[in-house]
């Protein structure tokens, strides 16, 4: 339906952003929301994304390529336009991590990455409709045959 541009952003795990504008919130958390992004856990890849007006709404996020080096995101023009994204260098990609009961149960939502424009500080959660990616992709690959 629309053309895709192949965006593979700069991997950046050292980002703190005080305020990101999500005009449409996230699926399940609708309405305009402002999120703060703060490094978490020392020099690991993780950050906290916290709703500035509703701190109970917060997520553990990380750049996907640390655990998923082959992850490919093709953002369509409509998605890029929603955050005024014109250049791949302006794009920060993060995925939401779901912690399980055990460390090895952690999963990441690869179907719905968080897309951030580093220049304008707009963000959204994309839906990679034709990607085949899972909403709960395990971070820890087991070797079980």
């Amino acid at each position: 339906m629309s053309t895709t541009s192949h965006l593979r952003p700069v991997e950046d795990t050292g980002v703190d952003i005080p305020e990101l504008l999500f005009r449409n919130g996230l699926p399940g958390f609708p309405g305009e929301r402002r999120f703060g992004l703060v490094r978490w856990g020392g020099d690991g890849p993780y950050s906290l994304m916290v709703d500035l007006d509703d701190p109970g709404v917060r997520f553990l996020v990380m750049p996907p390529f640390v655990f998923f080096p082959d992850y490919v995101v093709d953002l369509d023009d409509a998605t890029a336009a929603k955050v005024s994204l014109q250049k791949a260098e302006d794009c920060l990609l993060l995925v939401i991590v779901n912690l399980g009961d055990r460390v090895e149960d952690a999963t990441a939502n690869l179907l719905g990455p968080i897309v951030i424009n580093l220049r304008t500080h707009e963000g959204l959660q994309a839906v990679l409709a034709d990607s085949g990616y899972a909403t709960r992709a395990p971070l820890c690959q087991s070797d079980a045959a």
Binding site: T3, E11, G41, F67, A78, K87, N109, V127
Partner: protein
Amino acid sequence: MLVLTRRKNQSIVIGDDIVVTVLEVKGDQIRLGITAPRDVQVYRSELLEAIEAANTSSVLQQEPGRQAPPSPPKQSHRVFRGRGAA
């Protein structure tokens, strides 16, 4: 919810410029064609439901230190430079 009945090859117009057409009816499967402007996204609803469910269950109940997230595999320092549409 507005309920309409259509036959194969009939269409529905939504707003000024979204058109949904019944292309094929085969058993209990219906193939739909959707024409919409580039800035309107069209998704199978179960995708949005799956993302909503994942988001809801991912909200941190307390500081994540109680459940430690996994340490990353060996450090990768790959940098990707994007390119525009080919």
